[in-house]
Symmetry: C2
Subunit: 335 residues, 2 copies
Amino acid sequence: MSTSIRLAIDVMGGDFGPRCIVPAALRSLALYPSLHLILVGSADAISPLIAAARYPSERVTLLSTSEQILADDPPASVLRGKPDASMRVALQQVRDGLADGCLSAGNTGALMVLARSVLGMLDGVQRPAIMAALPVAGHDCHVLDLGANVDCSAEQLFEFALMGSAAVAELTGKPNPRVGLLNIGHEVHKGGREVRAVGALLAASTQLNYVGHVEGDGLFRGEADVVVCDGFVGNVLLKASEGVANYLQAEMRDAMRASRLVRWVSPIIARSLRPMRQRNDPARHNGASLLGLRGVVVKSHGGAGEQAMLVAIGKAVKACEAGLPERIAQRLQSR
Amino acid sequence: MSTSIRLAIDVMGGDFGPRCIVPAALRSLALYPSLHLILVGSADAISPLIAAARYPSERVTLLSTSEQILADDPPASVLRGKPDASMRVALQQVRDGLADGCLSAGNTGALMVLARSVLGMLDGVQRPAIMAALPVAGHDCHVLDLGANVDCSAEQLFEFALMGSAAVAELTGKPNPRVGLLNIGHEVHKGGREVRAVGALLAASTQLNYVGHVEGDGLFRGEADVVVCDGFVGNVLLKASEGVANYLQAEMRDAMRASRLVRWVSPIIARSLRPMRQRNDPARHNGASLLGLRGVVVKSHGGAGEQAMLVAIGKAVKACEAGLPERIAQRLQSR
């Protein structure tokens, strides 16, 4: 990394706000030596947190804002109100060339709407998409869209495939990621109108390493590196996966507790399960990319703790280093 | 159970065919004393299996057929060809009043198409739906549609809610099951056009115990007894849930094997996990109901073994006892 990366972080979003995000941000400076941070939010909240910390102060700028987007602010309302909201101001740093990218743990819908409005879309992109990684069979499977777009045309789904393929190539280093279309069977006649139409576009494309239809179970067997679907299906898939995982873990915990003998050996079991837990820890996969915008925008999970926030910062740094929006624009132009 | 139940079983479908289905069917006679079976399929395959078995022969009829629907027969083709297919003949028993219901482990798409053609739809039903139970937080959550209909209108989704509510009330004994609409958020503006429209219909209905939107994770926290969605989303949800569960179980198994100490105590762990495994065993939830038809039709998983097949037979018996199609017809008429 030769040049410095400047990242604007909205520290006001998420369940824990500045007291989680500011310490994570300061820790990230040690991990990424050429990273410069613009911490955007309430000076009253940030100042005491940085006053007590040891960090290279020349690499941190504090940008004080007076307003904040709330978790239940309707996305449409954020365009009109709150001109000094931390999320908006962080995006403006990217628009004005003062930052290479921006990170927020706030309201996803508001971030999407504001990012479109403040940064604008790449040429040829109709709608931005949200992409995140699910831990699958020892590698990551990136899925998009995860909820930005509920009704998608075949053309939009095809754009998601191009953007996702370009982004995964840059973020993971796989030069030609396998792209799958989420569907309910392998036959070409499966799926609704738009899914069948995009299936034909994908199969005809020479730009993509298209592996065909991927079903809900095939995704978790690692059949593709990028899986494309509309935002309604993707969001259901993501949340249901979390739901099943949480449910099974709770069932397992209860079962283990029920036996005195198992409780006695549980430290041994816990130790042997640790690598698997770590590999599948949602915190290790924190950070969804908003693709199709004229700038790097990463969304952290609202419930992310300090460690998970560090992971999301790392994703934003990587996207900035790769010049992800430019790479996606090139891919779209060479269609 | 005062009167007898007559069940036609297509023994030719599924991964294991007659050698699994026939023994399961004969075992079911001991569980359901008033059950009479019509075993439909190749006499050559069935005869040796029943010749060797001890069972009340006066309660079993063998109906010999010469053809069979295959797993990869396109659903559309089965209407024209194979007039003597075991699946079709089993459905005809129901149509002709010779059986109260029918069970098959064969090609789902073919079963749906043939059932519509042979039995016809209940008055006022536009499309049949496939409903199955997912094990959730100590009870069952029934989800429909699971893949019969990929693009659903609001009106169809509303029908699914009425049919699902009536069916779950009859099958589980819960008089007023909680009905949820699968969505990607709790706010009324969430979801695509048809989902928003059916949300308004459901909220206005006085017939249903409607609990509002349920998200993918909320479903696995037991927020509803019946969850309504289109067949594309439902199928992805079902298969992704299986995929996550299988993935996590494999990860767990590998982790346990990696430690010699854990391998040593693994019999103790296995014993304490047994109740949880049994509660969540897919075999215990085998048997999807095809709703909206003029007759009871239950679809077993193609990979079902003997024990799982017994569960599906039990579901078919229960649906016959309850007169499920009549109950659903009444519910639809009283709208």
